[in-house]
């Protein structure tokens, strides 16, 4: 085991590289979550639509994503997409992660949309609001609020899963840690350091989600 002083010395001396890597991890995470929410919402709406074939498409998507390891999906998308279009590595990694997160997010949103009392839709409709207007103004705001705790959980999973982008040569946190570790023959120190950075990011994400939850729960108080 490395000594405490060695750990802290390395922590500070490597901070420039790690902070740059942390920002990349954060970017990957934020982009993949935002795109993942869009994909997730789309497939959640397909799943609850009255048109059977759309619901099947959504089922197939969730089945494929949940049924295969993320690293396989990343490789397929990375080599696949890069072959078809000239896509920057960052976007290949982000989209692969978004595609993965989207399946889980769609299941979360489908559940919360369906959990909203059907009287809410009837109330909107009885006021002359269209189906889509009621969905947008009445149902989705409530569904998102109810989805926030499980979404927050999924965001944290997404953050940690972004470490797999290391395998398509993104210089995010995990890649930097393993590279520095093997270059300096000091893997353990750098793995402990990278754990600290992940914990900081998770703490940050947790705070953001909690703030959102507090802001959105105003109507309950």
């Amino acid at each position: 085991m490395p000594s405490f002083s060695h750990f802290f010395d390395t922590l500070f001396s490597s901070s420039d590289v790690f902070i740059r890597a942390m920002l990349l991890t954060l970017e990957l995470t934020v982009v993949s979550i935002i795109v993942g929410i869009v994909i997730g919402l789309l497939f959640a709406l397909l799943k609850i639509s009255n048109i059977k074939i759309l619901a099947w498409i959504s089922d197939a998507y969730v089945f494929l994503v949940r049924g295969t390891p993320l690293i396989v999906q990343i490789f397929i998308l990375y080599f696949g997409i890069s072959n078809l279009f000239l896509l920057p590595d960052f976007w290949a990694a982000s989209l692969a992660l978004a595609f993965h997160n989207g399946a889980y997010i769609s299941e979360i949103l489908r559940g919360t949309i369906q959990s909203i009392d059907k009287g809410q839709m009837e109330a909107g409709r009885s006021l002359g609001m269209s189906n889509s207007l009621t969905l947008r103004r009445i149902i989705l705001p409530q569904a998102f609020r109810r989805a926030l705790p499980p979404l927050g959980n999924q965001f944290i999973i997404g953050l940690k899963d972004s470490s797999l982008a290391a395998f398509i040569s993104m210089n995010e946190l995990f890649n930097v840690a393993t590279t520095l570790g093997s270059n300096n023959f000091d893997e353990m120190t750098y793995l402990l350091i990278v754990a600290v950075y992940y914990l900081i990011l998770v703490a940050f994400l947790t705070i953001v989600v909690n703030l959102f939850e507090k802001k959105l729960s105003i109507s309950d108080r």
Binding site: G119, E122, A123, S126, L127, M129, R137, S219, D220
Partner: protein, 246 residues
């Protein structure tokens, strides 16, 4: 003066699977009238009311709203719904919006009323139902009676020609029933056309212009409250009235 026919129902039928819940219903509602639908649970009152707002699809028969028959495809159902307001047993206020936002939601987004004007009208409506001081409160803060009065204001904000009430006081604590009935009485006096599914017999007797008694999916008897309550003709009506508390 001849009253205009606001709602006319002919031969309305509705089933859920094997369950025939509305059987050959004929009914009419005249302008400014308060029609009370009464009868035991499961008699089809609420289903009938929901058919009037197209929340339930009829199987056969005709529903004419202000003289026109509405068919999906040729009519915009949303437009009809804006003319026929609905108040629900369980209020169904929008919990993520303040009272004022609940009331202005449909006018601003469906009728595209300018926000300032919608707010002004909403405040007048809230004053009318006695809740001016609750405009900026969320529904979770309100009592059941207050919630139902907000729901009435929300329905009125669309300036409907007809207002449907689906057991508006059934979910309320007994001491809160009065305030909602008072608001409904005021509306009736102003000449609002109302169809009310209710178990409040004294309301039906005192405020109703016409009583429709339903049993087992049929209209068994109907008439003005004076005749209906003092001199019912049908055996089934007599039985029902004997077991009912006023």
């Amino acid at each position: 003066m001849e009253q205009k026919e606001m709602i006319r129902i002919r031969n309305l039928n509705k089933s859920y699977g094997d369950l025939h819940v509305l059987k050959d219903i004929d009914m009419k509602v005249l302008d400014s009238d308060v029609v009370c639908l009464i009868g035991p649970s499961g008699s089809g009152k609420s289903t009938l009311l929901r058919c009037l707002n197209y929340l339930e699809k009829k199987d056969s028969g005709q529903i004419l709203i202000e003289g026109t028959e509405v068919k999906p495809g040729t009519h915009d159902i949303n437009e009809i719904r804006a003319k026929v307001g609905m108040v629900f047993q369980h209020f169904h206020l929008f919990p993520h919006m303040t009272v004022l936002e609940n009331v202005i939601e449909a006018p601003t987004h469906v009728k595209k009323v300018p926000k300032a004007q919608a707010i002004e009208e909403a405040k007048a409506l809230l004053a009318k139902v006695g809740l001016s001081d609750k405009a900026d409160v969320y529904p979770s803060k309100l009592s059941g009676g207050q919630k139902q009065r907000v729901a009435i204001a929300r329905a009125l904000a669309m300036k409907p020609d007809i207002l449907l009430f689906d057991e508006p006081t059934s979910a309320l604590d007994p001491e809160l029933v009065g305030e909602v009935l008072t608001t409904m009485k005021e509306l009736a006096l102003e000449g609002m056309t109302m169809v009310v599914v209710t178990h409040e017999m004294s309301f039906a007797r005192d405020v109703g212009d016409w009583i429709v008694f339903m049993h087992d999916g049929r209209v068994v008897e109907s008439g003005p409250p004076k005749d209906f309550f003092t001199n019912p003709k049908e055996e089934r009506t007599k039985e029902f009235l004997q077991t009912t508390i006023f």
